[in-house]
Amino acid sequence: MRIAFFLVVLTGAIFYSYVAFADLGFLSRTGRLGPGFFPRIIGVAAIVMTLWALVDELRARRGPGGAFEQWRDVAVLIAFALGYAVLLRLFGGFVATFLFLLLTLSVLNPGRRLTNGLVAVIVPGVVYLLFDQLLNANMPPALIDLPI
């Protein structure tokens, strides 16, 4: 995973540099430093530094880090959080928050249905009052309106 993360960063750095050299000029039409000047420096430096760090990583030869339990819990939370992003688009702020909290807490805090249910109702309520009513800010609107 660690090496894979470095490779993703390296790929990003190469792509960034490619665009800097291919699409962005070093000088502008007036002869001043152009839009590509700074990105070229950043891109080349990023490639060099990432390669250097990658070589260090390969030399260090670390074993796979983290126990299964550690990864399981964080993977569950990340998966539910990403699912929440989708739910927000579909059902809007209030319903999506209720569903997200109910599902996530049922996995992370099992056996405490009353507590989980109360948190799943109270938190969206407080968030709605704070953002929508008190601060007059935007809550995500629903794409699919539920009959509630």
């Binding site: 960034y16 000047f37 760090a53 964080v74 939370l77 928050t97 996530t104 807490l105 992370l108």
Partner: protein
């Protein structure tokens, strides 16, 4: 106008009922942010920044600043009662704070940490009051070369403080600089890395990235480290009736510690990149070296708690000087504060205190009042914070996800920004996991456009010659200071960490 009348004008702004209310809310929220382990002031600021958008800028900045320095007060409560620092700047407070609590002196430790924080914070604000106008005066002679060098100094000092993972710190900063180049190039009007997307013309928005990296990223990392599994069963009980207040000996034996910690903390805080964590570790090590009871540090020595507490609060005040007078943030937290200024159309810098006296002096005056409020809250609201510590992290975690998401959306009602925040959260988790520095990324994202603009202007002025950086006296000074810091800071950092590590092992 002299400093005193400026400050009085600031007080007249700060004590309006609505601003006082914002200040108290900020102080309280800051303490709560500090109390929650794995959740630092940068995360708190980034998440709560959108909440302040409907507010008057002066009140909002006062509130955000109070969250920033309030977190320093709150973070120590868990250091003392749970042996778990609420945030990184209070790590050193666990070394003697927790042993004091275990020895039945939790009450005096909690009161002394509040008093030390108050002294550190207030000395820091007094020094801001005196020094900020002087810094602003000096920085008026600065041009593009100096601004570029200051940005470089901020990044370099932050990276050298990372220590053995410095290469990953550089990569993190480069990613931040790269993200800062997205959008329309202001000099030529050409789009960069927008790939035809209208959403990217304005650049990568700071708020979703900061909330994702600091809010979600830190949360995911806390779950990875198992913070949601460790309950609060280890919390040390304290007696509120008898033996709650410190003895005369506690006060007398630590009075000079408070003075030393405040001055050292402030000086370290002013240095961009160094910050409150380094200040607290250095103050602890210094105190341990010069104290007659140095051998007892790590076993519950009051000076061992007071030194880092005064230093981290003084440092958080000191960090406001480069922010207000140069517009250069020295840490992730002050980078979020700078973003808040920019979002309100305010540009901190040499002329900021002159062109926005009500806001600048109102903010400084509010820090005096905020420290007083935090002293009272720290002592009398301890039972409330103990209850917050007892809320299981597995319930707190999903709730934080909700606040991050709704907070991000509320800024521009943009689902793209919402998805960007979630992506930044996942990336932030892997960055923390593999030793990268989200703080360097965020700092570079804020400083990047400034540094690029300053460098291009500099090279235009000098017709492409880099000699301009050594021809100008202010530039030469900044280069000298930067080189000194880059050479000196790793040594001081090593000295602080080594002494702290031996104290930690002494305390078990």
């Amino acid at each position: 106008m002299d400093v005193f009348s400026d400050l009085m004008m600031g007080f007249s702004v700060a004590i309006s009922p609505i601003n006082l209310l914002y200040l108290l809310i900020g102080a309280m929220v800051g303490m709560v942010v500090g109390v929650i382990p794995g959740f630092g002031p940068s995360a708190g600021l980034a998440i709560l920044l959108p909440v302040t958008f409907g507010m008057d800028p002066t009140g909002a900045i006062m509130m955000l600043a109070a969250i920033y320095y309030g977190a320093m007060y709150g973070g120590t409560i868990t250091s003392i009662l749970l042996n778990t620092p609420g945030e990184s700047a209070t790590v050193a407070s666990t070394f003697d704070g927790f042993p004091l609590a275990r020895n039945g002196r939790a009450g005096p430790a909690l009161v002394m940490q509040a008093a030390a924080s108050f002294v550190g914070g207030t000395v820091g604000v007094i020094l801001i009051t005196i020094l900020a106008p002087m810094f602003a005066q000096v920085s008026r002679s600065f041009g593009p070369p100096e601004y570029f060098l200051l940005a470089v100094m901020g990044m370099l000092t932050l990276i050298v403080m990372i220590g053995s993972h410095w290469k990953l710190g550089v990569i993190s900063a480069l990613i931040g600089f790269a993200l800062g180049t997205v959008g329309v190039d202001l000099e030529t009007g050409q789009g960069r890395y927008t790939f035809g997307s209208a959403e990217l013309i304005g650049g990568v928005y700071f708020i979703p990235v900061a909330i994702g990296l600091f809010g979600l990223g830190e949360l995911f990392f806390a779950f990875y480290t198992g913070l949601h599994r460790t309950g609060t069963g280890g919390i040390v009980q304290y007696d509120r009736q008898s033996r709650f207040w410190p003895t005369a000996e506690d006060w007398l034996s630590t009075r000079m510690t408070m003075v030393r910690g405040s001055i050292l903390g402030f000086v370290v805080g002013v240095i961009p990149g160094a910050g409150a964590t380094i200040a607290s570790l250095m103050a602890y090590s210094t105190e341990r070296s010069i104290s007659r009871n140095g051998h007892n540090f790590g076993n519950g020595e009051m000076a061992g708690l007071v030194a880092p507490e005064t230093a981290n609060n003084a440092a958080s005040s000191g960090a406001m000087i480069p922010l207000l007078t140069l517009g250069i943030p020295g840490s992730a937290s002050t980078a979020v504060l700078l973003a808040a200024f920019l979002l309100w159309g305010l540009r901190p810098g040499p002329l900021f205190m002159e062109t926005n006296p009500e806001l600048a002096w109102g903010l400084i005056a509010s820090m005096y009042l905020g420290n007083m409020a935090l002293l009272a809250i720290s002592i009398f609201a301890i039972p409330l914070f103990v209850q917050i510590i007892k809320v299981p992290y597995r319930i707190l975690g999903p709730t934080v996800v909700v606040i991050c998401a709704i907070g991000t959306f509320s800024v521009h009602a943009s689902f793209i920004e919402l998805y960007l925040m979630f992506a930044a959260g996942v990336i932030g988790f892997f960055m923390r996991l593999y030793g990268f520095s989200p703080a360097a990324l965020v700092l570079a994202l804020v400083l990047g456009p400034l540094a690029e603009e300053a460098l291009r202007q500099t090279l235009t002025i000098s017709r492409g010659s880099f000699m301009i950086f050594v021809d100008r006296a202010p530039s030469l000074w900044i280069i000298g200071v930067t080189v000194t810091l880059v050479l000196l800071l790793p040594l001081l950092n090593r000295f602080g960490s080594r002494n702290a590590a031996s104290a930690e092992s002494a305390g078990g």
